[in-house]
C-alpha cells in the first residue's frame, strides 16, 4: 500500500514535471527572442545593457520587410483557401465513400506529408524550372503557393478526416428526406457539422504556410516571405532586427490560435448538456 502510494507520488512528479518541462522547453527560444527584441545593442548578448525599441524602427524601415510581410500574407491566405477546400473534398472521399482507385487516391494525397519539406521543395523546383523553360516563365510567389498547397493539403485532409470520421450519415439522409438537394445537404448539414474540423484545418494550414521556410526557400523564386527574409538576413549579418520581427510574427499566430480556442469552446458549450437518453 505504501509502495503504491510512493509510486503514485513519483508518477505525479514525473508526469506534471514532464508537462511543465516541455512547456518551458517550447517557450525558451520564443521568450529569448522577445527579450532580445528590446535590446539596444547591435550584438545580442546577455545580460542586456539597455532597452530600446530601436530595432523595431529599423525593421519597419527595412526596404524588403513590407513586401515580405505582404508576400507571407498572400501566400498563407491563398494556400489556406486551396488546401482547406481540397482537404474537405479529400477527407469526405477518404472516409465516407468507396470508389475505384480509392487506395491510389489515398496514397497520392497522403504521400507529401511523409516527404522532407526541403526535398519536396527541391523536386518541385526542378519541375518548375523545366516548365519555366518550356513556357517561358520563372518561379515566383505563385509556384510557392502551389508548393504550399501540395505540402499542406495532406495536413488539412487528415485533420478534417478526423472530424468526418465521427459523422452520422443519417443526418444527411434526414436532410435529403426533408427535401434538400445535394448542394443544400452539403451546405446546410455536412459543412456545418464538419466545420470545427474545417476551421482547425484552416488555422493549421495558415500557420504552417505562414511559418514555412523550406518550401518557400526552394520555390518562391525572387519573392521573399518573412521566414526567407529572416534566413537571408541572418546570413548577411544584420540580425538585430530579427528578434523584433519574431516578436511581431508571433502576433498573428497568437491571434489565430486564440481565436480557434474561443471558437472551439463555444462549440463545446453548445453541446454542453449531454443527451439524457441513449
Amino acid at each position: 500500500m505504501t509502495r503504491d502510494r510512493l509510486e503514485g507520488h513519483l508518477a505525479n512528479i514525473v508526469l506534471y514535471g514532464s508537462v511543465a518541462g516541455v512547456l518551458v522547453f517550447f517557450y525558451i527560444p520564443i521568450l529569448t527572442l522577445i527579450l532580445f527584441s528590446f535590446s539596444e545593442s547591435r550584438f545580442l548578448s546577455f545580460p542586456i545593457e539597455a532597452l530600446s525599441l530601436r530595432w523595431y524602427g529599423e525593421l519597419f524601415a527595412a526596404n524588403d520587410f513590407w513586401p515580405a510581410l505582404r508576400n507571407s500574407a498572400v501566400l498563407a491566405s491563398v494556400s489556406t483557401v486551396f488546401a482547406t477546400m481540397f482537404g474537405i473534398g479529400g477527407a469526405i472521399a477518404w472516409i465516407r465513400w468507396r470508389f475505384r482507385f480509392q487506395r491510389f487516391f489515398q496514397g497520392l494525397t497522403f504521400a507529401p506529408l511523409l516527404f522532407p519539406q526541403l526535398l519536396l521543395g527541391v523536386v518541385m523546383l526542378l519541375w518548375f524550372s523545366v516548365l519555366g523553360s518550356w513556357l517561358d516563365f520563372s518561379p515566383g510567389l505563385w509556384s510557392a503557393i502551389i508548393g504550399h498547397v501540395v505540402y499542406i493539403t495532406p495536413f488539412a485532409l487528415v485533420i478534417i478526416a478526423v472530424q468526418v470520421h465521427g459523422f452520422d450519415d443519417t443526418l444527411e439522409d434526414a436532410a435529403r428526406d426533408a427535401g434538400a438537394n445535394r448542394w443544400q445537404v452539403f451546405r446546410e448539414i455536412t459543412l456545418p457539422l464538419i466545420w470545427p474540423g474545417v476551421f482547425s484545418a484552416a488555422i493549421f494550414a495558415f500557420l504552417l504556410s505562414w511559418g514555412n521556410f523550406y518550401i518557400t526557400y526552394s520555390l518562391a523564386g525572387t519573392a521573399r516571405t518573412l521566414p526567407t527574409f529572416v534566413f537571408s538576413g541572418i546570413a548577411v549579418g544584420s540580425s538585430p532586427i530579427y528578434p523584433a520581427l519574431a516578436t511581431l510574427s508571433f502576433v498573428p499566430a497568437l491571434l489565430l490560435v486564440g481565436l480557434a480556442d474561443v471558437f472551439r469552446r463555444r462549440a463545446a458549450a453548445r453541446r454542453a448538456a449531454p443527451p439524457k437518453s441513449e
Partner: protein, 290 residues
C-alpha cells in the same frame, strides 16, 4: 460509417477528388519522376548536360562521404525519434489522465509554439545557448563562472534543435492513441491487483503503440529533411543529408548529383516507412494469433 459506393460518373466524387489528384499528380508525382530522370544527367561548368548516363550514380556510390553523411543523418534521426518518444510518453499520459482541466490550455500552448516560424525559433535557441547568451548569463548570476556551458556548435546542439522542432508530432500522435484507450481496461488492471507502474507497463504502453509508431515514423522521416538545425545550431561541422543536398544544389550547382542524393534520402525514408508498416502488421498479426 456507411460505405457509400460511388461511381466515377458521380459529380460529387469528381469534384472532391479530381482537382486535388491533378494537383498531386502534376506537382508531386511528375516532379518526382523528373528528379529521377535528372539524376542520370551530368554537369559541366554549372550547366546540366543532357547525357543520360550513370556517372552521377557511380559518383554517389563510390564516394564514401555521402554515405557517412547519410549514416550520420540516420543516426541523428534515430536518436531524435528515441528522445521524442521518451519525452512525449509522460507528457501525453499526463495530458490524458491527470490534467483534464487544463489539457486544452496546454495543447493550445504547444500548438502555438509548434506553429511559429522555425527559422526564428532556431535563431532564438542560438541566442539562448550562446556563450554570451541568456543561459550562461543566468548561470553566471547564480554563481557559476563565465561561460559555464558550451552547448552550441556540436551534434548535441543539432539534436536539441531537432527534438525541439519535431517533438510536437510525437506528443500529439501518442496523445491521440492514449486518449482512445478505454478507461475500463486500466481500471480492470487495477482491479486485478496491478500497481500503477505495472498497469502502465502492461496495459497503457502496449495500447499506445499505434501512436508511438506513427509519431516515430513521422519524426524519423522529417528528421531526414532538416538542415536549419545542423547549420545554425550545430555549427555546420557535421552536416546532415539535407544540408548536403542544399550545398549540392546551391553552392556546387550540381543538379544531377543533388537529384540523386535527394532520391537516396527519399529511398531511406520510404524503406523506413515500409519497414515500420511491416513491423506494425507483424505485431498486429501476432496479437491476433495469441
Amino acid at each position: 460509417m456507411a460505405d457509400q459506393r460511388k461511381s466515377w460518373r458521380d459529380r460529387g466524387l469528381m469534384l472532391a477528388t479530381l482537382p486535388v489528384s491533378a494537383l498531386m499528380l502534376f506537382f508531386f508525382l511528375v516532379p518526382l519522376g523528373l528528379t529521377a530522370a535528372l539524376s542520370f544527367q551530368s554537369t559541366k561548368y554549372y550547366r546540366v548536360v543532357w547525357s543520360w548516363d550513370t556517372g552521377t550514380w557511380i559518383d554517389v556510390f563510390t564516394h564514401g562521404h555521402y554515405w557517412s553523411i547519410m549514416l550520420q543523418t540516420i543516426t541523428m534521426a534515430l536518436a531524435c525519434v528515441a528522445l521524442c518518444i521518451i519525452i512525449s510518453l509522460p507528457v501525453a499520459y499526463a495530458l490524458v489522465n491527470r490534467m483534464r482541466s487544463v489539457e486544452n490550455h496546454v495543447k493550445v500552448l504547444i500548438v502555438f509554439a509548434f506553429l511559429t516560424d522555425a527559422v526564428l525559433k532556431t535563431f532564438g535557441w542560438v541566442l539562448f545557448l550562446d556563450r554570451t547568451g541568456v543561459m550562461n548569463g543566468m548561470l553566471e548570476t547564480i554563481g557559476f563562472g563565465p561561460a559555464a556551458t558550451d552547448i552550441l556548435f556540436n551534434p548535441g546542439a543539432t539534436l536539441l534543435g531537432m527534438v525541439y522542432n519535431l517533438l510536437p508530432y510525437t506528443i500529439f500522435t501518442i496523445y491521440l492513441s492514449l486518449a482512445r484507450i478505454d478507461r475500463d481496461l486500466v481500471l480492470a488492471a487495477y482491479d486485478a491487483g496491478a500497481s500503477r507502474l505495472r498497469t502502465f507497463w502492461e496495459v497503457t504502453l502496449p495500447l499506445s503503440r499505434p501512436g508511438v509508431i506513427a509519431g516515430g515514423v513521422l519524426v524519423f522521416v522529417l528528421s531526414l529533411g532538416v538542415f536549419l538545425e545542423s547549420k545554425v545550431m550545430g555549427g555546420g561541422t557535421s552536416p546532415m543529408a539535407a544540408e548536403l543536398i542544399r550545398q549540392t544544389f546551391e553552392t556546387r550547382v550540381n543538379w544531377p548529383l543533388g537529384a540523386a542524393l535527394t532520391l537516396v534520402v527519399i529511398a531511406i525514408g520510404v524503406l523506413t516507412l515500409g519497414g515500420a508498416g511491416a513491423l506494425f502488421l507483424h505485431l498486429n498479426s501476432r496479437k491476433g494469433t495469441a
